[in-house]
């Protein structure tokens, strides 16, 4: 029987909101899909296109960037910059022949442990449906 595809997802979480939200999900013992690997950054605005694209080019099946809700950024405006960059990244993903849904930007606050679990579980499920990253599964690309 074919083994069920388990995606490999990279998640950049901002230190102040989303990373704390992930901590809360853990301390409230919420089950979270293990296909996402967390990388802590100070602000979602730190995640430049280079990092997201590197992850995809090196075979990540999906990239999640999560920051504070609009208006709640610890650095006031960082999440807005992240949002703008994301609009652009989605287009770049298309150029690379990748489904834009492989990258996702979410707002998760420090008090939203449950939401963190929901976002990650849903994203992992969506990526599982999309299947492996075509850049790695198709050696010709």
């Amino acid at each position: 029987m074919e083994k069920k595809f388990k995606p490999n997802i990279v998640g950049f979480l901002c230190n102040w909101c989303s990373y704390a939200g992930a901590d809360l999900a853990g301390s409230s013992k919420t089950d979270v899909d293990s296909s996402l690997s967390v990388i802590r950054v100070m602000c979602s605005s730190r995640v430049n296109s280079n990092l997201v694209l590197s992850a995809l080019l090196w075979g990540s099946d999906g990239v999640l960037v999560a920051g504070c809700h609009p208006g709640d950024c610890h650095y006031e405006k960082g999440n807005y910059y992240a949002r703008r960059r994301f609009a652009l990244l989605k287009k770049i993903a298309e150029v690379l022949n990748l489904e834009p849904d492989r990258i996702q930007l979410s707002w998760i606050s420090a008090s939203e442990g449950k939401r963190y679990a929901e976002v990650v579980n849903k994203f992992a499920e969506d990526i599982s449906k999309l299947g492996p990253n075509p850049l790695t599964s198709n050696p010709k690309v």
């Binding site: 490999n8 990279v10 950049f12 990373y19 704390a20 992930a22 901590d23 809360l24 999900a25 853990g26 301390s27 013992k29 919420t30 089950d31 979270v32 293990s34 690997s37 967390v38 990388i39 802590r40 950054v41 100070m42 602000c43 605005s45 730190r46 995640v47 430049n48 280079n50 990092l51 590197s54 992850a55 090196w58 075979g59 990540s60 610890h74 650095y75 006031e76 405006k77 960082g78 910059y81 992240a82 960059r85 679990a117």
Partner: protein, 563 residues
């Protein structure tokens, strides 16, 4: 230098071993080339644990340390301190979160174990790319510039001034006291009357550590916490145009408020109709103990109109209900036959004593009329008619005198100072606090604080409390003889890669980046930078590096995640 990494896995009591097979983790990690030692410990954050860690780092002569335990939000600083005590640079340390984000969220033990291994390996790869960052220390000036000589500014100055700390109090008018100084009396349950402000002014004038600049403006402020330079320009008759440069460590903005200009909305008839006065004019009447109509007679009936400008401005000014109640009491006490009507949209009686103050006014015969909006105030014979609408029903009252309570609006200097200091304003034009609940007097500029009505409408006790809050912030951050420690994990710009496009300047919320026109590159002021990395993300030429969150460090984590 030969790199020797030590990996320490904390059990956190039963928390981690319940879900993670630590023996397997140790086995996997031991096979990594750079790892000199992998050890487990029952509770690493305990005193015994810290002692063990310190001694082991020294014994193994480690250069880098990875601790796999709880969230870095819990104990990153604890272990960085241990590393420092053991003679290491504390930034050659990486904390790996295998409790909250691993043991506690992945129910399957095997899965959780392999995830933990992945995270720790990422930590090991990452820590190899860490730079030994240094905590800088800067000399500080502990003096404070207070802008605005109202009750907030006065209170901030009084609570800050001391033999080791000089205060420069700048007031744009020719006297201290501000709006509070114009009030005839403060509410009865708030203690003494105008005496309070007078006494405070006297205290300021007698305090040798407070230098008062009246009729003066602040023209320029630049710098950062502990090191600000400001230019104060005098508008006094004999000193007009004279500029003085002062050096301070912190700035308090206590610029207060102004009254909504009633002439902006013609329905109030203010300035057109006789005996239609603003609340401040009525305060003056009480002050001079002359409540009279223009013809010298005592009014037989007075309408107190609340909420003028509330619809235009979009917020409740919070204090008008109480001071109009104060007017009503005054009228009833001093002109026994007077008929007093209060017309309000909503009554705002937030403090515990307010309800009884309101009830007493009712007992004295004050009539309270709810309205949606004033339609028109107009003259009708000897009387003034206030036409209003309530639930779509038009009605009116006819009185001798109308007192209007206008909304409190930001003072004129607010926008100018916001521009000067690169501070955000809220949508009503008041200064915006860093966080309404968590940091209500701070601004994005460290060392710049706001107090009182510069933040929005509030009463005198609230303003004074806030001034104490700003003082607390300043007293605890600028201690005479100490140095300030700026953020270590800041951005740095590689001059040879920078093209001088200045995109980073536009995204930096703190004004930490400036442009050097001679070199044609952007420059980071490390004392102001908070290390968010917005500039790093926006730099099109990759010239900016975020210390401790560099591309290579994060890339190691990405690669390990994908292995």
């Amino acid at each position: 230098m030969n790199k020797k990494i030590g990996v320490y896995v904390c059990e956190c009591g039963p928390n981690i071993p319940e879900r993670i097979d630590i023996d397997k983790v140790i086995e996997e990690l031991s096979s990594m080339g750079e790892v000199k030692t992998v050890k487990r410990y029952s509770l690493l954050c305990s005193n015994d644990g810290k002692k063990f860690l310190k001694e082991d780092i020294e014994k193994e002569e480690l250069t880098h340390v990875v601790v796999a335990a709880c969230s870095p939000k819990e104990h990153e600083n604890t272990f960085m301190k241990v590393c420092e005590e053991a003679g290491m640079n504390p930034y050659l340390f990486q904390m790996v979160n295998i409790r909250e984000q691993c043991a506690w969220m992945i129910p399957d033990k095997e899965e959780a174990t392999s995830k933990a291994i992945k995270y720790i390996k990422a930590g090991v790869h990452r820590v190899l790319f860490h730079d030994p960052l240094k905590q800088k220390e800067l000399e500080i000036n502990v003096d404070v510039l207070v802008i605005g000589g109202g009750i907030s500014g006065i209170e901030a100055s009084l609570s800050l001034a001391g033999p080791n700390r000089k205060i420069h109090l700048v007031e744009k008018t020719d006297s201290l006291g501000g709006m509070a100084g114009k009030l005839s009396q403060i509410l009865p349950h708030q203690g003494s009357k105008i005496k309070l402000v007078k006494e405070k002014i006297e205290q300021v004038e007698n305090n040798e550590n407070i230098h008062v600049y009246t009729s003066s403006d602040v023209k320029e402020v630049r710098g950062f916490l502990g090191n600000f330079e400001a230019v104060v320009k005098s508008n006094q008759e004999n000193k007009e145009g004279i500029e003085e440069e002062i050096k301070v460590g912190a700035v308090v903005l206590a610029t207060g408020f102004e009254m909504f200009d009633l002439k902006e909305n013609p329905v109030y008839g203010y300035g057109e109709i006789e005996n239609v006065v603003s609340a401040l004019e009525f305060e003056e009447m009480i002050h001079s103990e002359k409540i009279e109509l223009k013809n010298g007679k005592k009014p037989k009936s007075v309408a107190l109109v609340h909420c003028a400008g509330r619809k235009e401005k979009g917020y409740c000014s919070k204090v008008c209900c109480l001071y109009t109640l104060k007017f009503a009491h005054y009228l009833k006490d001093n002109l026994p036959d007077v008929d007093v009507k209060e017309l309000y949209m909503d009554l705002c009686l937030p403090h515990k004593q307010d309800q009884s103050y309101f009830d007493q006014a009712k007992e004295k015969g004050v009539e309270f009329i709810r309205m949606d909006e004033v339609e028109k105030i107009k003259k009708s014979g000897d009387k003034i008619e206030v036409e209003y609408r309530n639930n779509d029903k038009a009605d009116k009252v006819s009185v001798d005198m109308v007192v209007i309570a206008p909304a409190m609006v930001p003072s004129q200097d607010t926008s100018h100072l916001a521009e000067l200091l690169n501070l955000p304003l809220d949508k009503s034009g008041f200064f915006k606090e860093l966080h309404e609940m968590l940091d209500p007097v701070a601004t994005p500029m460290e060392g710049v604080y706001i107090t009182g009505c510069a933040l929005g409408p509030r009463n005198i006790p609230e303003s004074m409390t806030q001034s104490h809050a700003t003082s607390g912030k300043i007293l605890s951050s600028l201690i005479p003889g100490r140095k300030v420690k700026p953020e270590v994990k800041v951005s740095e710009i590689k001059e040879d890669l920078c093209t001088g496009c200045q995109t980073c300047l536009s995204v930096c919320f703190y004004g930490a980046i400036s442009y050097d026109p001679f070199k044609g590159v952007s420059v980071v002021n490390e004392a102001i930078c908070r290390g968010c990395g917005s500039c790093v993300g926006s730099c099109p030429s990759g010239a900016i590096r975020s210390k401790h969150f560099t591309y290579y460090q994060l890339y190691q984590e990405v690669m390990e995640a994908l292995r």
